[in-house]
Symmetry: C2
Subunit: 200 residues, 2 copies
């Protein structure tokens, strides 16, 4: 079965976005950590610059992805990624399908029947590649449902002091994680934890 990997940048004090919902306070640390240019594809391509170890980490991580699960807020914030996300078909958790969707030219799909369904659909779409899970709410839903294989947290060297926490309402905790693999960037530390769903 294809792996399900939560991917998120977090400040050292646990925030994925500042008090005003601005995610760039955290992301900027990762994406502004050096001068190696990295292209992110999709309909709305962007070029980021980052340090060499982060660029290599980003390339290895994203080249293994075949689909994405995220929430409605991320979809709105990213303005629907221009219709196609760089990581493959996107499955957006929502209470209802927004007006004007689905669109024939888009690989963005709305899932209204819960996280298990989203994971099932994303795994089918990803083929042999992995499924990325993005967004604090969506990641916590996946953790609580025991659906995550890996937790990839990019810890930015910043204390935000407030905002949206990555881990704020876990119901299935304490949860023991495996030993992380570590990639040292510049101003960011990439930690990848196996999620041991077979342990107490």
């Amino acid at each position: 079965m294809t792996d399900v990997i939560a991917i998120m940048s977090m400040s050292l004090d646990g925030y994925v976005a500042g008090p005003d919902g601005d995610v760039m306070g955290v992301f900027a640390w990762y994406f502004g950590s050096g001068d190696v240019a990295v292209e992110a594809g999709g309909s709305d391509p962007m070029t980021f610059t980052m340090s060499e170890p982060s660029a290599q980490h980003f390339h290895e991580l994203t080249s293994g992805l075949g689909a994405l699960i995220t929430g409605r807020r991320t979809f709105e914030t990213a303005q629907g990624w221009g219709g196609n996300h760089a990581w493959g078909p996107a499955f957006v958790l929502a209470h209802e399908v927004p007006e004007g969707w689905p669109r024939p030219e888009s690989t963005v799909h709305f899932v209204t029947d819960g996280i298990e369904s989203a994971v099932r659909q994303a795994q089918a779409a990803a083929g042999r590649k992995s499924v990325a899970v993005h967004g604090a709410d969506t990641i916590q839903q996946c953790l609580d449902a025991g659906l995550l294989d890996y937790l990839q947290v990019d810890v930015a060297a910043i204390l935000l002091g407030g905002g949206v926490r990555l881990f704020d309402h876990l119901t299935d905790a304490p949860a023991i994680l495996g030993n992380p693999t570590v990639v040292e960037g510049v101003g960011v530390t990439h930690l990848r934890y196996p999620v041991r769903t077979d342990q107490p």
Copy 2:
């Protein structure tokens, strides 16, 4: 001037203790991560076992310490370390000096006039060695007062889901930290951040 180093173990979701105040949920990951025996001195000596990289990290860190600043709760929890803390003279922040203190045979001192005074006294006691700051409240007071040189966080591979957060009421944030030095343990990742008080 002697360095002031915050030293704390934290779960990946940011807790230094579980919902019942039990710190061992986090510490145990560090101290139970291998079979290398490490002696902690003081009046109430203990032996911990940990992995080889954690043991080396622990030795290098603690051999450079000459004094400790912490809070009343840590003092109570540790039952006063038997009168002498392993890291040197201990300066305990308190509203008032508890009954029966100070004691002539003890290097535990109570500081009732605030964190700046505690840091000043601890630096004088530490000589050329560093001052450790321990405990979530005390560390945050030091951060907010701009008195920290390093933030040593041992991130345990566990999600606690609730409890006492390390960073919960910072007033002087956002704060940009320097690039961490990283020591990879087993089930714990030791991150040491320079605190750049000279940056915005």
